[in-house]
C-alpha cells in the first residue's frame, strides 16, 4: 500500500495533468476543484450513495459519514444537486480512491443538453488522448441506458434479471425471459445486435438513432472498432443516456469512460483514470 515513487515518469504525469487542464481551459472549460473528503448526512443519503459506499474508503465523524472521493462525476452530480453553478463546461484533475487504492482522474463535463456540444467535447477528449495521452484509443463500447427499460419494461427491476444482464449471461437470461428475443441476441455479433433490435422493437428507433450519432462521432475521431453494448445497466441512476467506454490496444480496462446524465438538468461528462 505504501508506495514511494520517484522517477522521471512523475514529472511527465504532472505535466500531462497541466496540459489537460490547459487544453480544455483553452476550449472554454472552467477549471474546478472539489474536496477530497466528502461528508454525508445519514438521512440525506440516496440509494445511489448507499450502493457506492461499500466501494469507498469511509468513516464516521461527528455523526456524519465521511468518504474519500470515488469519482469526479459522482461528486459533481452531488454538488449540482445542492448548489447552482454558472459554468457551462468544466475540467478537473485529482486523486480518487477505490476500496482503499488511490488513483488519478482527469476529466471534463458539459452542463448542457445539446448533443452537438456534448459530442464536440468527446471529440476534444479523444483528440487530446491521441496527441498526448498514450495515443488514440483502439476500441469503444457504447450503450444507451434508455434501451433496456423499453425492451424489458418493468421486468428490468427484477434483481435476478439485472444480475443476468450485468453478467451477459445468455444461459440465465434464457431461463428468466423464456421466448423474449433478448437472450438470443446475445449470441450474435455485437454489430448484428443493433440491427435485429431495430426490427424487433421499432419503438426504440429514436434511441438507436442517437446511438448511431455518437458512433459516428467516435469513428470520425479515428476510433476503428466501435461495439454496441445492449445489456448495459447504469452504475448510478443519474446516468440516463449514452454511455461510452474507450480502450487502448490490447488493454482490458477502459482508459476513459463517461456519458450523459441528469443532475437537475442534462449533462455529459467523461473521465480518464490512470
Amino acid at each position: 500500500m505504501t508506495s514511494f515513487i520517484y522517477n522521471p515518469a512523475l514529472i511527465r504525469q504532472k505535466q500531462m495533468e497541466i496540459e489537460f487542464l490547459s487544453f480544455f481551459h483553452g476550449h472554454g472549460f472552467d477549471i474546478i476543484d472539489l474536496p477530497v473528503v466528502e461528508s454525508f448526512d445519514w438521512h440525506g443519503m440516496t440509494e445511489d450513495d448507499l450502493r457506492l459506499m461499500p466501494q469507498r474508503e469511509t468513516w464516521i465523524q461527528d455523526g456524519t459519514v465521511h468518504a474519500l472521493r470515488h469519482d469526479w462525476t459522482n461528486s459533481i452530480v452531488r454538488y449540482l444537486n445542492k448548489y447552482k453553478i454558472d459554468a457551462e463546461r468544466a475540467v478537473y484533475s485529482g486523486p480518487v480512491f477505490h476500496s482503499g487504492n488511490e488513483t488519478k482522474q482527469l476529466g471534463m463535463e458539459v452542463f448542457s443538453d445539446r448533443t452537438p456540444e456534448q459530442q464536440e467535447s468527446l471529440g476534444l477528449l479523444i483528440g487530446f488522448m491521441d496527441d498526448r495521452f498514450g495515443g488514440l484509443p483502439k476500441t469503444a463500447v457504447i450503450s444507451h441506458y434508455a434501451l433496456l427499460p423499453t425492451i424489458l419494461g418493468e421486468r428490468i427491476l427484477e434483481p435476478a434479471i439485472r444480475r443476468a444482464l450485468s453478467q451477459r449471461s445468455e444461459s440465465a437470461l434464457k431461463q428468466l425471459l423464456g421466448d423474449h428475443p433478448l437472450p438470443a441476441l446475445l449470441g450474435d455479433r455485437p454489430e448484428a445486435q443493433v440491427h435485429k433490435l431495430r426490427s424487433e422493437f421499432p419503438e426504440i428507433g429514436p434511441v438507436l438513432e442517437e446511438l448511431t450519432g455518437w458512433e459516428e462521432t467516435l469513428r470520425q475521431s479515428g476510433i476503428e472498432a466501435v461495439y454496441p453494448d445492449i445489456t448495459a445497466l447504469p452504475s448510478q441512476s443519474y446516468y440516463d443516456g449514452v454511455f461510452i467506454r474507450l480502450y487502448g490496444e490490447g488493454r482490458t480496462a477502459p482508459v476513459a469512460s463517461g456519458g450523459q446524465y441528469t443532475a437537475r438538468k442534462k449533462a455529459f461528462g467523461m473521465g480518464i483514470f490512470y
Binding site: Q167, A253, P254
Partner: protein, 200 residues
C-alpha cells in the same frame, strides 16, 4: 490469440471427457499431454491451468479473457466477470451433511462460507459458520460442527466418513466466464471459441 483460465483437478477431467466425446481431438490432446505444465497452447488458444479458486481472479484481472470454472466458485467469491454460459459438464451439487439428523444445525463447517451464509439466510435461520480449507467432513465426524456444507459428486466421501446428505442444495456445473471488457474488445475470438465448443 485468446487466453483461457481452466480450473485444474475434477473440473479439468470433466472438461477433457467432454472434449473427447464431442470431437475436439487437438485441444484434448494438448491438454491431456500436459503433465505438470501450467500453460498449454493449442491452435491459437493459450490455456492457463490454475486452481479453481483463482480462475475468477485471472479473468477479472484480464490475464485471461475467458475462464472455465465451477458455479460453486462463482457462488462463493462473486467475481466481477461476465458469466456467459452454463456448460454441459462438471455437474455436482452442494449439500448439507451430518452424522445424525438434527432438528436444527447451529454450527456449520465449510469451505464455502458466503454460500452457506446465504443458504441459512434464505431459510431464515441463524447459524455459526467455521471456515476450513480442506477435509471438511472431519469437522462433522469429530463433533467440531453439527453439519458441513460441501460439494457432493458421488457421495462416496461422505459415506466413507460416516456422514449422510441431509439437504440437497443448489446444483453445480461448469461455467464459461469472460472478462467484462475483453467481452467486447475480443468479441470475435470469444464468439469463435463458444461456437467451437458448442458444435462439438
Amino acid at each position: 490469440m485468446i487466453t483461457i483460465a481452466l480450473s485444474k483437478g475434477r473440473l479439468l477431467k470433466s472438461f477433457l471427457d467432454y472434449l473427447e466425446q464431442n470431437g475436439h481431438p487437438r485441444w484434448h490432446g494438448a491438454l491431456k499431454a500436459a503433465q505438470r505444465e501450467l500453460l498449454v497452447e493449442a491452435e491459437g488458444i493459450r490455456f492457463l491451468l490454475v486452481k479453481g479458486d483463482d480462475v475468477p481472479t485471472y479473468v477479472e484481472e484480464g490475464i485471461a479473457e475467458l475462464g472455465i470454472t465451477g458455479s460453486d466458485i462463482l457462488a462463493e467469491y462473486g467475481a466481477d466477470v461476465n458469466e456467459l454460459l452454463e456448460l454441459p459438464f462438471g455437474h455436482c451439487h452442494f449439500a448439507l451433511a451430518s452424522k445424525e439428523e438434527l432438528p436444527d444445525y447451529r454450527t456449520i463447517a465449510t469451505k464455502y462460507v458466503n454460500y452457506s451464509r446465504s443458504v441459512f439466510d434464505r431459510s431464515e435461520k441463524p447459524v455459526k459458520i467455521i471456515k476450513l480449507n480442506g477435509s471438511v467432513e472431519l469437522a462433522a465426524v469429530i463433533g467440531m460442527a453439527d453439519a458441513i456444507v460441501d460439494i457432493v459428486q458421488s457421495g462416496d466421501t461422505l459415506r466413507m466418513n460416516g456422514l449422510e446428505e441431509r439437504v440437497r442444495l443448489d446444483p453445480i456445473n461448469a461455467r464459461l466466464i469472460a472478462n467484462k471488457h475483453a467481452f467486447f474488445t475480443k468479441s470475435a475470438e470469444i464468439r469463435a471459441f463458444i461456437n467451437e465448443l458448442r458444435v462439438g
